[in-house]
């Protein structure tokens, strides 16, 4: 009988102890705001094929198709790899020439207000056309896109089903923009999965302590820092862990031959573009979604500001920041922990200050950030048709 008792003690010690920290009502309210996940998202009113299966199929086919580039060297998937959370694993992307920025993950891209690190685009279809035409990236042309969609039997049939007209009857620019809208429809289906954090958050919301206690205690301590002393949730807010706006957190923005103006140049790009929500390519006759574009107001501080990234699946999309300058999540947290306000130019964010986190607290924040990732569903690579 003595041996049985000893065995039980041993077993109890080996099993991980489920423990729930004594979260206050205020902390629980703050945590609950980072859900539920996934959110319901509506079709994009600026894109008449948003959410349509035929267009999604066409967009998927184009996304993986290197024939968009004149020498068949590049496709979207070259820099947005499903096995790397739809980014490329490099600090900065390598196209035909080196690009100055890190390729962001395309997960949850339907939920963005601004696209690109500088928000130079206000809709997903114009953001999707740019890399095809950019000489540094795919290096194609509107004529090339039109030619491909008109001459490939499969793509041509897909196009006709998705848009209700024959590609031969559509002039090249309109056809290229339609192709970009199909690419957008496909990317809208890329959503990040539910994560251990989401189970924890939902359990807290319904008062299920046993279930909430399943999140490892280190990650729980990390959540507490994230919504509390770390001030992280001021910018990384809501279910997507971003306000979608632009801030500077003191990441250097010098690049070969100058500086990356960040939001400052993004607003310029936006104002010069014909493909914004305020233009005639927006399929929504009332242009209701154009409200942010119509009212965006340039500020001196925009120089060197970059879009706040989502933190979902971040553990799978290293390296980090607009220039990929931080290799691991631990490096990112150390950056915030040792933050030096002197490094911020101009009138920086007053909420960013040295956090005085010790090594154990840094590990806790990393454990929490890791709890925002999970195994994604298998990638659907079926061509259209």
């Amino acid at each position: 009988m003595r041996w049985l008792a000893a065995l039980l003690v041993l077993l109890a010690a080996a099993a991980p102890r489920a423990e729930l920290l004594d979260f206050s009502a205020d902390e629980i309210a703050r945590i609950v705001r980072h859900g539920p996940w996934p959110p319901t998202v509506a079709a994009d009113p600026s894109n008449r094929v948003s959410g349509k299966q035929d267009a999604i199929g066409l967009g998927r086919a184009l996304f993986f198709d290197a024939r968009l580039s004149p020498d068949k060297a590049f496709a979207c998937v070259s820099c947005h790899d499903p096995d790397k959370a739809w980014s490329d694993g490099r600090a900065t992307s390598m196209g035909r020439t080196a690009l100055p920025r890190n390729a962001p993950s395309l997960l949850d891209v339907r939920q963005r207000r601004w696209f690109g690190w500088d928000g130079g685009h206000d809709n997903l279809w114009s953001m999707s056309l740019r890399p095809i035409l950019d000489a540094r990236e795919i290096g194609g042309s509107t004529a090339g896109i039109a030619d491909l969609v008109r001459t490939d039997r499969n793509l041509s049939a897909c196009y006709a089903r998705a848009f209700g007209r024959e590609p031969g009857a559509v002039e090249a620019e309109a056809l290229a923009i339609d192709a970009a809208k199909a690419l957008a429809a496909f990317q809208e289906t890329l959503t990040s999965p539910r994560t251990p954090f989401d189970d924890f958050r939902d359990a807290l919301a319904r008062g299920d302590k046993a279930e909430a206690a399943k999140l490892p205690v280190a990650a729980q301590r990390g959540v507490r820092l994230f919504v509390g002393r770390g001030n992280c949730a001021f910018c990384h807010l809501g279910p997507a862990f971003t306000n979608g706006e632009f801030h500077s957190i003191g990441i250097p923005f010098f690049v070969a031959g100058g500086a990356d103006g960040g939001r400052h140049s993004g607003i310029r790009t936006l104002r010069e573009s014909r493909l914004t929500l305020l233009g005639s390519w927006n399929d929504d006759p009332v242009r209701a979604d154009g409200i942010a574009t119509r009212h965006v107001d340039p500020q001196h501080r925009n120089f060197g500001e970059f879009r706040v990234p989502s933190l979902r699946m971040a553990a799978r999309s290293a390296p980090y920041m607009h220039n990929g300058s931080l290799a691991t999540l631990a490096d990112v947290v150390r950056h915030y922990a040792r933050f030096d306000p002197e490094r911020l130019h101009g009138d920086g964010e007053a909420i960013l200050k040295p956090l005085g986190l010790d090594d154990a607290e840094i590990d806790d924040l990393v454990a929490f950030l890791e709890s925002l990732s999970a195994e994604p569903p298998p990638t659907d690579r079926r061509a259209c048709g």
Binding site: R33, E245, I291, A292, R294, H295, D297, D347, A350
Partner: protein
């Protein structure tokens, strides 16, 4: 009797300078400034965090003069920055304005600033 009438007229005139009633807006928050009264209400109410909203604003001048279109802004005193958007204003009827395109992109304490004919009227708003 004449003098009583005069003082009554004077009294009415001066009380007119102390208060005014803007076009009605219900429910609304009220700011009483030295020279103006501002009522404002968000659409939608309660106003959302990190999404565009509008403010309906009713204004009157205590000296009875016609009110020009106010300027509207919002900022976070503790963070030392404002919005990334500049609202557009339209007069919907006399003394009643709509400010479109505001967006509060961070939780915390914001301050709305209404500038009416050179007078600054402010109201704080906490959002989380």
């Amino acid at each position: 009797m004449r003098s009583a009438a005069t003082s009554l007229v004077l009294l009415l005139a001066s009380s007119h300078a102390i208060a005014c009633e803007p076009p009605s807006l219900e429910p609304a928050r009220r700011i009483d400034g030295a020279k103006h009264v501002v009522l404002f209400r968000s659409a939608p109410t309660p106003l959302p965090l990190n999404a565009s909203f509008a403010l309906d604003i009713a204004v009157c001048a205590k000296d009875g003069s016609a009110v020009a279109t106010p300027k509207v802004d919002a900022w976070m005193p503790a963070h030392r920055h404002g919005m990334n958007y500049r609202p557009s204003l339209t007069e919907t009827r006399k003394g009643l304005f709509r400010a479109d395109g505001l967006l509060l992109h961070m939780p915390g304490r914001w301050e709305f600033v209404f500038e009416v004919a050179g007078e600054r009227l402010t109201a704080t708003h906490d959002i989380d």
